[in-house]
């Protein structure tokens, strides 16, 4: 037995433990809405007993430390799903802009192709009419403009995505720098055995942010943390971060380079950079290729048909459109003639003949690109854009649901509950009061002992 003074020490330990509890709970409540915060709790332990003869008396409570409740496996899963989700979201955002360029109804390339062939049919009823001839040329010009506009806007969309690639690479660098700094701090703190839970929370939040931007693999052996891309390019190794850089190639497209100077653009798949790169380097170029082959196929077929005919002056027809081929064809499409008399509608050299309009009109039902008619090839483009976004949306919805579930799971471990903290506060408060009461009781008893001496 340690006597009355020993009892005071036990009560004092109780006061300290309950105070630690109160402080932790208060801290939890204060961080109720802090992103990335994991709730903490004091680790309380019984003090070593005092052995007196055959009896072991409890010696009160000791505060071992403060622990932070987090599930690092869930952190990893959330990081993985965030990469997926951000990638889908960025892809869908980029492609939604593209989608408006390929309407399926009364505007855009499809409608202009239709108007052009209609104008030919109108002309066939009165082939020498200059107004009708002019309207064929106007329709041909509008069709060219529609191809030009769509092609230019696709290029512009890619340029906007280039800008995003640059900005987001910079963000990646900022975050990896911060993570490396935190790694240094954590290494120092853990060697001195101090409480570093809040730095872990910060680092975990930064890794989630990073996962939103780029694909990330983590190697965490408990002491040091290494972050790489899925392709193994180092981003952070312990206290050292490795900056990525961007540079434009000859066509102006931004590529991403590792700190070692390797081009890693095509190896990135996750995070918003992954989605942006997928749209910029795969989906949009595929659309551009198909658009160009439609433009050049259509122009070639119409030019061939046009050359079979004779114009209003009886001369053989030349090119109706400027010949175009290969990449950039759609952007370069333009009508070659401006004089309606030069439209080769006839087949026998007379001004009243419409014999060649049938040849020109037949192009509407001819395979001009990838085995498809002009209108069919355009329909295919609409399908291509739509199905890309549609599957992106499906992936996004799945990722969102998955991510939400994971976040709920994480919150069930790490989230701060006001109910819980309220009951903890109540318990700590009561226990504190009780310990204080014990000190006061000992005090009274000591008073009795002192009075004993004074009174006799």
């Amino acid at each position: 037995m340690s006597g009355l003074f020993g009892t005071v020490w036990i009560a004092l330990g109780g006061l300290q433990a309950q105070q630690a509890g109160l402080q932790t709970s208060t801290n939890n409540v204060a961080n109720l809405n802090t992103p990335g915060y994991s709730r903490q709790r004091p680790i309380l332990q019984e003090a070593d007993p005092i052995i007196s003869g055959n009896v072991a008396f409890g010696a009160g409570v000791r505060v071992q430390g403060i622990e932070s409740l987090r599930n690092s496996l869930l952190d990893l899963q959330i990081s993985g799903e965030t990469q997926q989700q951000s990638s889908s979201q960025a892809f869908v955002n980029a492609m939604n802009q593209v989608q408006t360029l390929f309407p399926d109804d009364t505007t855009g390339i499809g409608a202009q192709i239709s108007v052009f062939f209609q104008s030919l049919n109108s002309l066939s009823a009165n082939p020498s009419d200059l107004t009708l001839r002019q309207s064929v040329l106007t329709a041909a010009g509008n069709m060219s403009s529609a191809f030009n506009d769509t092609a230019n806007q696709l290029t512009q969309t890619r340029q906007q995505l280039d800008l995003q690639v640059q900005q987001q690479t910079q963000q990646v660098n900022q975050i990896t720098q911060q993570i490396a700094d935190l790694n240094l701090k954590l290494a120092q703190l853990s060697s001195t055995g101090q409480n570093y839970a809040s730095f872990l929370d910060q680092r975990s939040a930064l890794i989630q942010q990073l996962s939103g931007l780029i694909d990330v693999s983590q190697i965490n052996d408990g002491k040091s943390l290494t972050l790489t891309t899925k392709g193994g390019v180092p981003l952070v190794v312990d206290g050292q971060s490795y900056s990525l850089s961007t540079a434009a190639d000859s066509s102006g497209t931004q590529h991403i380079y590792s700190a070692q100077g390797d081009d890693i653009t095509s190896a990135l798949s996750g995070g918003s950079l992954g989605g942006i790169l997928q749209a910029r380097d795969q989906t949009i170029p595929a659309l551009q290729t198909n658009l160009d082959s439609l433009a050049s196929g259509l122009v070639q077929a119409l030019n061939e048909a046009h050359q079979e005919g004779t114009d209003l002056n009886g001369d053989p027809g030349g090119n109706l459109f400027q010949p175009i081929t290969g990449a950039g064809a759609a952007a370069a499409m333009s009508v070659a003639i401006s004089d309606p008399a030069l439209l080769a509608a006839g087949s026998d050299g007379t001004s009243g003949s419409n014999g060649n309009i049938a040849n020109l009109s037949a192009v509407a039902n001819k395979a001009v690109a990838n085995g498809l008619t002009p209108s069919g090839a355009y329909g295919n483009l609409v399908f291509q854009v739509g199905s890309g976004i549609s599957s992106g949306n499906t992936e996004l919805a799945a990722s969102n649901a998955m991510l939400q579930q994971l976040q709920q799971q994480q919150a069930s471990t790490s989230g701060v509950s006001l109910d819980e903290e309220a009951s903890n506060l109540l318990l700590y408060q009561r226990a504190y009061q009780a310990s204080a009461e014990a000190i006061s009781a000992v005090n009274q008893m000591l008073q009795v002992v002192i009075n004993m001496g004074a009174g006799s």
Partner: protein, 303 residues
């Protein structure tokens, strides 16, 4: 098991989903379309490109038919007047073959025959919308001109070519009948027959048989013109029938379009109501969640 204490995210995401559903339903309701962008249903959007193209083409065929029809009707009624004039020329020929007539009377009849020739030439040089209808494809010039060097005195300077106009997928019609098949067919030349009749009537040495022969020649030309004119009547009939077909095809295409990308108004309204209800329910649930925790019950008096 510990339950996740933060429901904000769940609520937000539920609100997001019901917002989206409401927006979609509202858009379907206001546009009447199920497919408002290609990603809503990519294959339906691609089909719509095709359907819209067919509908536009259908409209165009109908426009061409109506412009062709009015030209043909003009041609047909002009030819009708030429036929009537030829009939009276034949009557004049029969009248002129009457042996009791004086030479002076015949000369007067001959003048009337010349007048008819002029009148028919006017018909043969009919111009419509800036082109000559009976000139074949050489339609920039009047097809018939006075030319004393040819028999009959009127030369054809058009050609024998025929334009064709597409009026339906895979179907075209001839758009004109050249003068050479109507007025100046070999062996049935209207102008030569009229000129022969006029000459026979003026010739004091001509017998009534000669006049009768000229009238017979005129009858042959008359028959030829009548046959040629039938082309216009037949084509107009064909145009009208194709018009009817195209009109019903338009209806069919628009039904097809509606079933591909359209939305049933009742379905859209129900969707909207459902989405609105779901949203209201989520909002109400969210509102009832807010606030209350054990903290509220820990007042100083309780402690």
């Amino acid at each position: 098991m510990r339950i996740s204490p933060t429901l904000t995210q769940v609520v937000l995401s539920a609100l997001n989903i019901s917002d989206q559903a409401e927006q979609t339903a509202l858009q379907q309701m206001t546009t009447g379309r199920r497919v408002n962008q290609a990603s809503d249903d990519p294959s339906a959007a691609a089909s719509e490109v095709n359907i819209a193209y067919q509908m536009d083409t259908c409209d165009q065929y109908l426009r061409s038919i109506s412009s062709l029809e009015s030209e043909m009707q003009t041609a047909d009624s002009s030819l009708n007047s030429a036929v009537t004039a030829l009939q009276s020329a034949i009557s004049l020929g029969v009248q002129g073959a009457n042996g009791t007539l004086s030479q002076q009377n015949r000369a007067t009849i001959a003048q009337q025959v010349d007048g008819i020739s002029q009148q028919i030439m006017g018909v043969a040089n009919l111009s419509y919308n800036g082109h000559y209808v009976f000139a074949g494809t050489a339609s920039a010039q009047p097809p018939y001109v006075a030319d004393p060097s040819v028999p009959g005195g009127i030369a054809y300077q058009g050609n024998d070519n025929v334009n064709s106009v597409q009026i339906e997928t895979g179907q075209s019609v001839a758009a004109n009948q050249p003068g050479s098949a109507l007025f100046s067919a070999p062996g049935a030349n209207v102008f030569q027959a009229l000129s022969d009749l006029s000459a026979a009537l003026r010739d004091p040495n001509a017998t009534t048989d000669d006049i009768g022969d000229a009238t017979t020649e005129l009858r042959t030309a008359y028959d030829q013109l009548g046959e040629g004119r039938a082309f216009y009547g037949n084509t107009i009939d064909q145009l009208i029938s194709v018009q009817g077909f195209l009109n019903s095809e338009q209806v069919q295409l628009s039904q097809q379009q509606n079933s591909t990308v359209g939305v049933d108004a009742n379905v859209a309204a129900t969707n909207l109501t459902n989405a609105e209800q779901a949203r209201t329910a989520t909002v109400q649930a969210a509102a009832s969640l807010s606030g209350v925790s054990l903290m509220d019950y820990l007042s100083p008096t309780n402690v």
